[in-house]
């Protein structure tokens, strides 16, 4: 059962709250238990047609010829849609925030890049008739060598998956083939460490398998607009994506959604809406496009696979002094959201631990696998799996209790994080202490008495000299503090444990003027 530990940080909290900590009935619960919650597929429209999509049988192949002549004449067929019928048949999801290049067609034209990629959409009176017509489409494939492993994809001579990114990596800031994090001198610190541990971790793709498969119903409205019932988790994101692909103003559409039969990140990719709406536009009739279960598993985007190498330096007393991370995110054949997952991952390094030397290189790699997407903490989850496995191994290496080892290395208030932001409102130590207590795991007295509010900052707030940094930043940028931020304990008088060498006098960067473009740490783009 849920237990709120209000004794911890009690002095920081106003407990006179009306909602938090109290059970509240969901507003949709009555609809759920009576079966009256309306999901996208619960709309019965007069004269509704059914869309089915012919998908690639190959992971990588050139499309020599697509012959739909016989399928056009098949009984019940209203319309066959090919790539040339899609107004803007190239898109990338995050183009809505100017991130990345358009790299993915709605319907493949010259090449297929993963098994299950859509090639032709068929609109027919019944699902059966659509399937019968689909069997009559002739596709002449020229199979190409495929690549399914992230490191193989980066080797010289590897097949080019997606010509938009010829090196099989997403390109950041138009220049970099990966995201970097540099904080201190990890190589030098590793050379001086008592122990060094290098390990490889990897994780397979995970399908969300929502009970309700992805789908949508689009219908012409009376005022020249289209009403779209959809399973999307991201209503306006899907609306804008559809508007871009179909090259119409977004107010052409009235999207209806919000009641989603399980999403977990697997319903943000706008997999069905653009073609479904296009079907309604081309036939003038309501069109329903719902993935079957097999399609959901093969074509529905999963959490991407990741391969992670960790190399850590640890001292006999248990302090981690360096962490080097090299990781490869398998984006599949197209970008979708993996470019952003990498940015999230790098922002999360080196995990919730104060490590004075951190070195990260994370790649977003294209392979001939189903494009990956969001899923519950994507970008962070697999890395945390790797880091926490590594923490157990490191504790074992230095003969420390794994819980105490985590407490020793945890962020404390005022510490400097590797991406040069102050750690605030930390609570990992307290979480570990409660976890130990609940699992009847004995911690030594000194570790039971440690606190996120004590012993942080000071020398631990320093930004170490970082080789190769062209613009040394001896101090972190000033951070806005809010009323919710815990105030820092009085500065400590103990010497810094890794005294940073005196920084060279930095050339002062020009102070940003009001209204100037800003650098976004999240998307790596300059935006207003």
């Amino acid at each position: 059962m849920l237990e709120l530990r209000k004794d911890i940080f009690a002095d920081e909290r106003d407990d006179n709250l009306k909602e938090i900590g109290k059970g509240t009935q969901r507003q949709d619960m009555l609809g759920h238990v009576t079966g009256t919650s309306t999901y996208f597929d619960d709309h019965k429209l007069q004269g509704m047609l059914h869309m089915k999509v012919l998908r690639s049988q190959h992971a990588h192949a050139r499309l020599r010829r697509i012959d739909t002549a016989e399928a056009e004449r098949s009984q019940g067929v209203r319309r066959i849609i090919r790539g040339a019928d899609v107004p803007r048949n190239l898109n990338t999801l995050l183009s809505l925030i100017n991130f990345g290049k358009d790299d993915e067609p709605s319907l493949a034209v010259d090449k297929v890049r993963y098994k299950g990629e859509p090639i032709v959409a068929i609109v027919a009176d019944s699902p059966r008739e659509a399937h019968e017509a689909m069997a009559k489409v002739r596709v002449d494939y020229e199979p190409l060598p495929a690549v399914f492993d992230v490191e193989d994809a980066l080797k010289p001579g590897a097949p080019v998956v997606n010509e938009v990114y010829p090196k099989n990596t997403f390109i950041y800031h138009d220049v970099y083939d990966h995201q970097k994090l540099r904080f201190g001198d990890a190589d030098r610190a590793l050379a001086g460490a008592d122990h060094v541990l290098e390990q490889r971790y990897q994780m397979s793709p995970i399908e969300h398998a929502p009970t309700e498969t992805n789908g949508s119903i689009a219908a012409p409205d009376t005022n020249g607009r289209y009403v779209v019932y959809t399973s999307t988790q991201a209503l306006f994101f899907s609306l804008d994506t559809s508007a871009k692909i179909l090259d119409v103003p977004s107010n052409t559409f009235h999207f209806v959604g919000g009641t989603v039969g399980g999403g977990f990140g697997g319903k943000v990719d706008t997999l069905t809406e653009p073609l479904c709406i296009l079907g309604a536009m081309l036939t003038g009739r309501p069109v329903r496009y719902v993935l079957g279960r097999e399609e959901e598993m093969q074509f529905g985007s999963p959490r991407g696979a990741e391969r992670i190498y960790l190399k850590d330096g640890v001292m006999r007393d248990g302090r981690i002094i360096a962490r080097k991370v090299r990781a490869y995110f398998d984006s599949g054949a197209y970008t979708r959201l993996s470019s952003y997952a990498v940015v999230k991952c790098v922002a999360h390094l080196p995990g919730p631990y104060t490590i004075p030397n951190v070195h990260g290189d994370v790649y977003c790699v294209f392979t001939n696998r189903t494009p990956a997407t969001a899923m519950r903490g994507f970008g962070v989850t697999a890395m945390d799996f790797a880091i926490e496995c590594q923490m157990d191994k490191l504790a074992h290496l230095v003969g420390m209790d794994p819980m105490e080892f985590r407490i020793l290395n945890a962020y404390r208030d005022g510490d400097m994080k590797a991406h040069r932001r102050e750690a605030k409102n930390c609570a990992l130590i307290e979480c570990v202490q409660v976890a130990a207590e609940k699992s009847k795991w004995t911690l030594r007295e000194e570790f039971r008495r440690m606190s996120s509010r004590k012993d942080g900052g000071g020398g631990r707030a320093a930004i170490p000299a970082t080789p190769g940094e062209t613009r040394p930043r001896p101090t972190a940028p000033a951070q806005q503090r809010t009323a919710y931020d815990r105030s820092l304990a009085a500065p400590l008088n103990e010497p810094p444990r890794e005294p940073p060498p005196p920084p060279p006098s930095p050339p002062q960067p020009a102070a940003p003027s009001h209204g100037a473009t800003r650098f976004s740490s999240v998307f790596g783009t300059r935006r207003r």
């Binding site: 009641t259 039969g261 279960r293």
Partner: protein, 159 residues
């Protein structure tokens, strides 16, 4: 003509429809009768979202050829309310927070009803077995099991 006439009892009411050959009961209920409570989840018998009772026994409507229910009684979630009153299982699901996205809920409730109709005081293991063909991907099995047990004991033992 290829349409097949079909008559059966739907939640106690006689209905008559015409179906295409090969139509499954889920499509007949949703598209021809307009009862949207059974859901499509897989079409394979793997998820249980389309569960209904046929002559009191739990069946998967997506794997049931529609015409095989001719003359029989089909019960869906739409029929389990008693007038304006919620069924005890519905109340227990609400009180025990036994639904998140709600998509598996109609099937879960029918599987639970199939159990309680013949075994009003099931053990926890019997509840687990009874809903073992129904997948909840939001992973709310514990509250669902608690809700079924609570409904069985008249709503007293909410865990």
């Amino acid at each position: 003509m290829s349409k097949i006439p079909l008559q059966f009892r739907h939640n106690g009411r006689e209905v008559a429809i015409f179906v295409d050959g090969g139509t499954n009961l889920l499509v007949a209920l949703r598209e021809l009768i307009g009862d949207m409570t059974p859901k499509f989840g897989c079409g394979q018998g793997g998820c249980g979202a389309c569960s209904v009772l046929i002559d009191g026994a739990l069946h998967l409507s997506c794997l049931t050829l529609a015409e095989t229910v001719a003359g029989r009684s089909v019960e869906t979630l739409d029929g389990i309310k008693q007038g304006p009153q919620l069924h005890p299982l519905q109340r227990a699901f609400m009180e025990n927070f036994a639904a998140q996205c709600g998509y598996c809920t109609p099937g879960m409730l029918m599987a639970a009803k199939a159990l309680l109709d013949r075994n009003p005081q099931p053990s926890r293991a019997e509840v687990v077995e009874a809903i073992s063909g129904n997948i909840c991907r939001c992973t709310g099995y514990e509250p669902i099991i608690n809700a079924v047990l609570a409904a069985a004991s008249g709503g007293r033992a909410s865990a």
